[in-house]
């Protein structure tokens, strides 16, 4: 008689474990082994816009497809990884009067949850991420419209090792900040370089099968 409850308990425990494994949030590492991740920026300027990328991306996003609102994470870019096509301009951008990469080596955005979550397709959502954006040692609260795409089982496939399994999460977004708010030449040279920096990002995070 006592064997039946024990079996039932075992089945219930196994079921709970499976459900927990499926539903539990996963942590996606943004340090992409293929080097695809980057934050792109653009500033209108005389002659042509100054456009470049910051490529050394690190950070994590914790994501649960059954609780999108609870998604949180931090994205960081190494300021020294900023690249623009013109070498002299690159030197200026990394210098003390612009991003001051030597003194402030990290540009980051940290968010704790998502709002306005809408499903826009199978495993695709749009939302608004509110969090702290830090640039040149100044941190400010901002909101960023983002889109999320959950690619289940694609982590290993992307690395040509399907046996690895695991999932991918693609996060895209676009926002702009006033450079003066972050101590970058406030009120200066606005006739030559626009006061607003437009930032675009498309990042993929990987969560190997645990």
């Amino acid at each position: 008689m006592s064997a039946i409850p024990t079996t039932l308990r075992s089945i219930a425990f196994a079921g709970f474990t499976i459900v927990s494994a499926i539903a539990s949030p996963k942590t996606f590492d943004l340090q992409d082994p293929k080097g695809v991740n980057a934050i792109q920026f653009k500033l209108d300027s005389i002659l042509e816009p100054i456009a470049g990328t910051a490529g050394a991306i690190t950070g994590t996003v914790t994501f649960d497809p059954s609780a999108i609102e609870a998604t949180n994470g931090k994205v960081s870019a190494a300021a020294a990884s900023i690249v623009v096509p013109n070498a002299k301009m690159n030197e200026h951008l990394l210098g003390a009067s612009w991003v001051d990469a030597a003194k402030h080596p990290e540009i980051s955005f940290a968010f704790t949850s998502l709002t306005d979550v809408k499903s826009v397709g199978a495993n695709k959502w749009t939302a608004t991420a509110a969090g702290q954006f830090s640039l040149k040692g100044v941190t400010k609260e901002i909101t960023v419209p983002v889109s999320l795409t959950y690619l289940e089982g694609q982590f290993g496939t992307r690395l040509n090792k399907p046996e690895l399994g695991g999932d991918l999460l693609v996060v895209r977004g676009e926002f702009s900040v006033a450079r003066g708010d972050y101590g970058i030449k406030p009120g200066e040279s606005e006739d030559k370089v626009a006061p607003v920096i437009q930032l675009t990002f498309a990042l993929v995070g990987g969560a190997p099968k645990s």
Partner: protein
């Protein structure tokens, strides 16, 4: 006419022509000169468009303007006359 003036004028004209030819041969870039050129790529699985940079030089309007200005300055220098010393 001094022979150096002819030489400098010839050199400056050739220089201006070279600068313009090089700029036009490299694609008439009407922006700033580029030391590394952005190339767009797409990751097939995630469909993320990402940029890589190729190390090569593409002259821009700054190169064209600088080269032309230098050539014109050299050309103009040949019209300067040596100050004559009146010994009488």
């Amino acid at each position: 006419m001094d022979s150096w003036r002819v030489l400098v004028r010839g050199a400056s004209v050739i220089g201006i022509l070279f600068v313009f030819s090089f700029w036009s041969a490299k694609g008439y870039n009407r922006g700033w000169s580029q030391n590394q050129v952005p190339v767009k790529n797409i990751d097939p699985v995630t469909e993320i468009e990402f940029t890589t940079f190729q190390k090569r030089f593409i002259p821009g309007l700054d190169y064209l303007a600088g080269g032309t200005a230098l050539g014109l300055t050299l050309f103009a220098v040949t019209f300067l006359r040596r100050r004559s010393h009146n010994l009488s």
